[in-house]
């Protein structure tokens, strides 16, 4: 990947963060920490990796995204709006009565959302079924599954992981958002996950560890052709990543803040975006 391509992905990631913050600011509260930590990933997926048609979101041959951490919906919505699945103004309806953008992903409400998630763990098995279905239908689509590190407390994830590797569902890529925190605090304090890479390897995956904000490493991992084993990407990450003030807030799973505070974060991301724009030239 040349520097220009890298900058473009970083720019897209900053645009997603900006749209996300504006979206959550409009409601005053929301699942900001775990949404921010997947923005770089979403930029790479929707910017350079996935095959999709914003004007035909149910196109059967598309690649699919399952954010099993359904509470990261706001980040996915921001990405989809930026890609033209629905108007940007709609982001301001997040969690409003009658909205198409509920706090957790709903495939029957939001154009471009491929799977209904929110009850943690459940997206994993659904992603397996979707990928298996594509394979059996002869479609060359890929399914990308984002799982939270805290979410891996749910036993269902490991049932689905065992099935993915055991049945060689290699058109499904697992991506663990290893952002070290869950709702009540640090994963290491609540229920230690030990070595996630070793765990996925032991479950029969080819496990790759990358920095969650390294767009080039993410791209390389996401486009790596799987051999006999499905690929699991462990994203070494920071909850709230890309917005220093939120990264440094320990309890950032869901935050309720006054408009002025959101504005401070929005200004910081705007400054990041301007710096990237300048570099792009």
């Amino acid at each position: 990947m040349d520097n220009h391509e890298k900058l473009e992905l970083r720019r897209f990631a900053a645009q997603i963060r900006l749209a996300l913050l504006e979206e959550i600011k409009a409601r005053g509260f929301g699942h900001i920490g775990g949404s921010l930590s997947i923005c770089d990933l979403l930029a790479v997926l929707y910017g350079k990796v996935m095959r999709y048609k914003p004007d035909d979101p149910k196109w059967a041959d598309r690649d699919k995204l399952v954010s099993s951490k359904g509470h990261a919906g706001p980040a996915v919505y921001a990405t989809l709006a930026l890609k033209g699945f629905f108007p940007m103004e709609e982001l301001k309806t997040l969690n409003r009565p009658g909205t198409n953008l509920p706090s957790h992903c709903d495939k029957n409400k939001t154009p471009g959302i491929d799977c209904t998630t929110g009850s943690l763990g459940q997206g994993t098995s659904q992603a397996v079924g979707m990928a298996l279905g594509d394979k059996l239908k002869g479609r060359d689509s890929r399914t990308f599954l984002i799982v939270g590190d805290g979410e891996l407390d749910e036993g269902q994830c490991w049932e689905a992981a065992m099935f993915t590797a055991g049945k060689k569902i290699t058109n499904l890529t697992w991506i663990v958002d290893d952002n070290k925190r869950q709702l009540d605090g640090y994963t290491v304090d609540i229920l230690p996950l030990f070595d996630l890479r070793a765990k996925f390897e032991a479950f029969g995956f080819e496990a790759i560890r990358v920095k969650g904000n390294d767009v080039e490493a993410l791209y390389d991992a996401l486009t790596k052709k799987p051999g006999d084993k499905p690929i699991a990407i462990i994203m070494d990450n920071v909850k709230g990543s890309g917005v220093k003030g939120i990264e440094e807030t320990p309890a950032n799973h869901s935050m309720t803040l006054p408009a002025e505070t959101w504005d401070t974060y929005i200004e910081a991301v705007k400054a990041d975006l301007a710096a990237i724009e300048k570099e792009v030239g």
Binding site: A60, D106, K107, N108, D114, C115, T116, G118, S119, Q122, T124, S125, Q126, A127, V128, G129, M130, A131, L132, G133, D134, L136, K137, Q156, E159, A160, M162, F163, G166, K167
Partner: protein, 319 residues
């Protein structure tokens, strides 16, 4: 409806039916896919699965994962059938069926074998007395509890062809033989097996034969009972329930299930709102399962012909 009930057991078992019909339906419909949680051998589908691993998938002993995969396959354009024993097809994977299935508008047919006392020698851990209650609480779910293999043969393909969450609770062994081979059924429509003016007995599945027997014994005492096979437990055939409550003025439900949330609850909900009449019930009362032959357990949990007779007479006395 022509019935041939004479107290004899069905000449075919439900296991035979499942083991022949599922492979045939898979062969006939490329969109159909069958998942099991390591109990294929228990319904005679293992051989087919070995030959067709892409159409019949053993998910291992992971029922929640199986239900979630079924939901994903539905989203990908397949029509999944899942099977495991009743408690695992209801309690164990309930949230996955509810959310990944129902809430997400995905379709699946979940087969829970050996309902209630039919779990017999597998005992209390394998004995679902609450599976109907759970599936009734899923919005839009359809629940079928077939009485015999004629009914099963006619209803099963229709159920599989429907959209949404469908739960089939079915014995693996033979129940009593009830229907003539020509009988046909509409999902959502109860079947009047016998007409009588004094009381209506509403039942399903394993209890249909016992209820017919009880009706015959009541007739010997001069009490004429209507017997309805309510093989579709949800949606309930409310019109039929109301019609016969009005005609007979008393209703007793008879079910191989807990009194909470099953057939009794469904009928009581309907009659309380539309046509309150004295009601009684023959059902499992506030109990967990136990081990033993089904007939012993039917006695143990109060599901025998004698219990039906006593409850019918008690309820008629309240008219």
């Amino acid at each position: 409806m022509k019935t041939i009930y004479n107290g004899e057991a069905d000449s075919r078992t439900f296991k035979e039916m499942l083991g022949t019909m599922i492979p045939k339906m898979l062969d006939d419909d490329p969109n159909l896919i069958y998942l099991d949680a390591d109990l294929m051998s228990c319904i005679g589908t293992a051989k087919y699965a070995k030959a067709h691993p892409d159409r019949a998938i053993n998910c291992g002993i992971a029922e929640g994962n199986m239900a979630g995969i079924a939901a994903g396959l539905s989203a990908a354009g397949f029509n999944p059938i899942c099977h495991t024993f009743g408690p695992f097809a209801s309690r164990r994977c309930y949230d996955q069926v509810f959310l990944s299935g129902g809430y997400a508008h995905n379709s699946m047919t979940m087969i829970g074998t050996d309902p209630g006392v039919c779990a017999a020698m597998n005992g209390g851990t394998h004995m679902p007395f609450e599976d109907v209650a759970l599936y009734r609480a899923i919005p839009g779910a359809i629940i079928v509890d077939p009485a015999d293999t004629v009914q099963f043969e006619k209803v099963f393909p229709k159920l599989v062809a429907m959209e949404g969450i469908k739960y089939l609770r079915v014995n693996r062994k033979a129940n009593d033989r009830i229907y003539d081979a020509d009988a046909d059924f509409e999902i959502g429509k109860g079947v009047v097996l016998r007409e009588g003016a004094d009381i209506t007995l509403i039942t399903a599945g394993f209890m249909v034969g016992r209820t017919l027997k009880a009706a015959a014994e009541l007739a010997e005492k001069g009490i004429e009972a209507t017997v309805i096979d309510m093989f579709t437990l949800k949606p309930l055939d409310e019109a039929l329930v109301i019609e016969y409550a009005k005609k007979t003025g008393a209703v007793v439900t008879v079910e191989n299930h807990n009194a909470v949330g099953g057939l009794y609850s469904a009928v009581a909900d309907c009659l309380a709102a539309n046509c309150p009449v004295p009601m009684g019930r023959v059902a499992v009362e506030e109990s967990f399962g136990a081990v033993g032959p089904a007939d012993y357990l039917a006695e143990f949990f109060g599901l025998t012909v004698a219990h039906i007779l006593a409850e019918a007479e008690k309820t008629i006395a309240r008219k």
